[in-house]
Subunit: 483 residues, 3 copies
């Protein structure tokens, strides 16, 4: 019913709307960047020379760039190749998966620099936002929320709708991030709360509003083929391998980044084994399912998003990974079909099991680890540094911190659900060029496709083959039975 | 006419020429490396210990290795996976695209270490060239010029010809680089001039000389299939993601590298949106074209090659990206077909739109940004450092610098065009094993190919399928004749 | 005969065994990590603050994390994407290639942290193993031994058997590594001996014991298709590009890492040219073989595993690469078929030519370079640092060092062969769910496969096509209009 709300006249014509959105919004970026964005003191030529003098720094290696650039590039790969190729698994929507991911991330990161800048880095005196390598990482993170939401909508929306999803997604992200990280003063380095929980529920809520009762008309294309699963595996592996960089990219210099990497690495390894175990158990001959391997094995990275920078201990990390593999794979087996049948929620990539639930779990794990932090474990200095207990938060107790962490998770869920429902209704206007129910999961709608793969083989051989075939047919139909 | 200049007897037999070229040139490398190449003081065991003492350095982290290694590896990925996979888009020339790219880059980087060493790092006392991490980056850069040229020739030349293209390409590169960077004292960190402008025009000039009037005999293979476009997307994305590393790999430590990354990152993001916009506008239903997405979205990286390390400002970068997406996509839509029809210039990958024009543009943008540089923006010290205004260039004014930058761009164009025409004529000798006009874009010429994809499916299922088919056959034999 | 030792009743049912192995072993990991594994002083919050004070360190950049993290991530990519995708070349075993590689590496690295920890990092006072970034790199290295062994077994064993191969492989690795690196005090940064020689012979010995005389029943699937070769090329290139990081990841800070990168980079480049030369020479029209390009071009990385950190000189590196390309390609052309026919040794990926022989060669090259090291070349201080000639090794002469290096190579071979034969016999028990001889190289055995690629084409076009077809046929238009 929902999909036909405004009548059945679906049309994927986007020749006006897509260029208009791209041009107008990009021009807006130019203007806003001109007004607001400047280099920070570590990327400005004059600024850095002055900074070095004022901070008595003798070596350029102290520039934050050298602490964070390798992680930044890994995060960048996750955003564009990781998320992009993970969404190429559909047999005829691989262009859309990787291509629209590219488009919305490229827009989202610019908008994120502005939105996050206004909330976190606006100089009250000059009225300018200054940016450096950490801003770029945060902008990539901010995009991730909307890319996660895309996972639930994959194949069912137009690129124009995705731009709208990203515009509002980045905006909502900046607000909830301000509440969680600034007002609640939570720690959430890898964004279990602000990125994954928010992004997951945001996408699910949108998908729920956009429910298509007749989606089974596109059923034939809602699946993978052998090679599309391999392309998706590229995305999955780059996400899996670089997740330690994702979680550690903006943590504290020194032991902070170091420990975050170790914890994430261990949790992810552990998660792989339980994912394989449950996947095998669920099929009558013990065969494995690529959907689980590609997705559930990543859940541990999500669930460590908050706790990885804390002293969760190596075995604590492994336990989190152990549980996540089980929970996420069960989600793909039972919860996604349940959501579709009972809640009328169509979640193409299963982001409920990869982002929403593990993210929420990660938020609460973080709350527990924070609540149990002691000076004995972190050292006095370390505790203050790790939780940034300075200024007005100087006297916050660890149990209070844990409470705020838990509250932050709830804020992320709320922003995702409410924001998603609102954006979903906006997307139901019949102006966005989304495909009809029998034209989903099909690149034909938005891409000029090359001719079919069948016609590839070298023409000479092919022709010979054809000639022989016809030859046979004319002469003796029976010979076909042997061919 | 040109292609048949020496008669029609084309033969792709390379069993003597390719091994001969590989062996002889590689042996030459061994000898020349033995005579000339040594470790520099930061990679030599004894040298580094002495360097640390003489420079009063206490920590190994001050070794240039730690400033540049992450960028080096990203550049290395761009050269081999980026350029390599970008050229796998043809349906039956993917082996040649990625494989020959591999061969010529592996040769080119060795030859580049020597050529660049002789021009830039030859110690007049010892007669030795010393190499370190920056030399490796420069060698990779130097290869890039020839790999760009390969883009115009893709599918129409033999690997032996490509080795010749690379031998001369690297040689010409070293000379023009010496003129532009040393004599003119230009700044060109990401090589908008020395790499992209030169490489682009070099390839175009060669392709023009090698014009094949009957290339439409191979038309059936001059296009992509669904999965080959996805392979190309891997290359495109790795180029796009790592371009900030490309432009910043050899810029100044500290704020220099930091700022270059920010500028390149922003320009590339902006470029994606205008590319999508123009691509969509150009098709009657607004459908997107993978050729544009894979290529034009990269043009901003090229165009920022010179200016990225300068104080072009974040919004300046976005404006450059904005324009490049438009110009490059228009190039693919109108200029490439025009060049082919009117100028008899066949440019397989469209390097005119991705490298030649954006590179030239980047050279002039760099000239403008250099000419407008002031002490107010850079600080006195920063201005000297950024433009290396020391020694005999101490008193150069910024407008002079801008003039030299513009002149440098013209030198790059001239070297590309003249060098390319000469090399093109060399390649027209009928000894190189290039394919006939009806055998272009076909891996069959130079690769042992596996059997066709059609025969893959599991034999059991395949047999069943066959049986059913035959069943049909009994019912209506005639339909088979047209199938 | 061997394969049918226990009768012909092969069954690939693994629904009990695989989940059981995954769960039990992962639970064991949780317990053992709980008992033994802790953060080291550079990743522990309190520990790092104390370490900085006690070592008078003022900057977090001195944390070992910043020296090694970029290399670690490159190694991580090699293990999961490099090895994984290199093994996707088979037309119908790509899921198994990349998927089982994922599983066993994820298990292996956890087990490696424990095994290597017990042998190298167990604190005798606290009874704990402390881990940091170098431990993670070593764990990845340790897995590599078993992943290499998988190359020989690809397509012929069950995932449960692979888990057993990994369990024993990691265990044997830790012991031989203890003997070679600790007792013999060898240098082997990139593991020519401990990783490649051991892993290669380990896999070959297992494969020899598991010889399948009727493997030709699966012959139809023991080969590549066009696109599977491209997937494999992704793996090959990531291995090739990141091998400098592999060899330098745990070498000495400063000039050590710097030089290792240069040497490996040059050797690999040189190897590519001789690989192309021999591959072309071996085919009657000079056509190239993807198997050689994907594999033999990597042999130089293996062969530089020991010597790369030493002062082998740039031209020494190029000579090693030159020889490796020739030896390895000849191996693929003549030795692998010989081994299969005469020694009854089926080596799916040709690890004999890529790991075993180049690894052994690398061990002996390392021995020679070590034996010829002098104070004149390294400096007094440098010689001590490079070979860690401290404590009881203070007075070891360089020729003694060379002797031990050579002996170390022999230990690696012995451990590989003996260990492999033992593990091979364990794997012959009829309980592991390995496939029958006519069911090898087939993902059908262990994976739920998507429908065939043939059924992909967009339904609308397909229908139109059908309609036209039928129209032409003039047979029965009515039934078709509904199709």
């Amino acid at each position: 019913i929902a999909a036909n709300f405004f009548g059945p006249q679906k049309n994927t014509y986007i020749r006006v709307s897509l260029p208009a959105v791209c041009f107008v919004w990009q021009i807006a970026m130019v203007v806003l960047f001109g007004v607001f964005i400047r280099y920070d003191e570590e990327s400005d030529e004059k600024g850095w020379n002055e900074f070095k003098k004022s901070h008595n720094i003798t070596s350029n290696i102290e520039n934050d760039f050298y602490f964070r650039y390798p992680s930044f590039q890994d995060v960048h790969v996750m955003i564009f190749v990781g998320f992009g190729f993970l969404m190429t698994f559909l047999k005829r929507y691989s262009f859309g998966g990787v291509g629209f991911n590219f488009l919305i991330a490229a827009f989202g990161l610019q908008w994120a620099l502005l939105m996050q800048g206004w909330f976190h880095a606006l100089d009250p005196v000059t009225g300018k936002i200054t940016i450096g390598i950490e801003s770029l990482i945060n902008a990539d993170f901010c995009c991730a929320g909307s890319l996660i939401a895309y996972g639930a909508l994959l194949g069912k929306v137009s690129p124009v709708q995705l731009m709208v999803v990203t515009l509002f997604g980045v905006t909502l992200f900046a607000v909830e991030e301000y509440i969680i990280l600034d007002l609640f003063h939570c720690r959430d380095a890898g964004g279990a709360m602000v990125i994954h929980t928010f992004g997951g529920y945001y996408g699910l809520a949108i998908s729920w509003v956009l429910y298509r009762p007749n989606l089974n008309l596109s059923k034939r294309l809602n699946g993978s083929v052998y090679h599309s699963d391999l392309f998706a595996m590229i995305g999955a592996l780059f996400l899996w391998m670089f997740w330690p960089s994702f979680n550690s990219a903006i943590t504290n210099h020194g032991a902070g980044q170091h420990r975050t990497v170790i914890n994430t690495y261990l949790a992810l390894a552990s998660c792989v084994l339980t994912t394989f175990a449950i996947s095998s158990m669920s099929q009558k001959k013990g065969k494995l399912d690529m959907v689980h391997i590609q997705n559930a094995s990543l859940a541990a990275g999500v669930a460590m998003g908050t706790a990885a920078e804390l002293m969760i201990t190596p075995y604590g990390s492994i336990i989190v990974g152990f549980c996540c593999g089980i929970i996420s794979t069960f989600g793909y087996l039972y919860v996604t079909p349940f959501l579709e049948k009972k809640l009328k929620l169509q979640d193409t990539c299963g982001i409920h099991n990869l982002h929403a639930v593990p993210g929420m779990l990660g938020g609460f794990v973080g709350a527990i680890v924070a609540a149990t932090a002691t000076e004995e474990i972190y050292g006095k200095e370390g505790l203050i540094e790790t939780f940034d207990l300075t200024g007005k938060f100087e006297n916050r107790t660890m149990s209070t911190q844990g409470g705020y962490q838990a509250a932050g998770t709830c804020v992320a869920i709320a922003f995702g659900l409410v924001g998603g429902v609102c954006v979903g209704f906006i997307l139901r206007f019949p102006i966005w060029g989304d495909p009809a129910d029998d034209f989903c999961f099909d690149d034909e709608a938005y891409w000029e496709l090359p001719e079919d793969e069948e016609t590839i083989p070298p023409v000479l051989e092919y022709n010979n083959h054809m000639v022989n075939k016809h030859h046979d047919t004319h002469e003796s139909q029976f010979s076909l039975e042997e061919s």
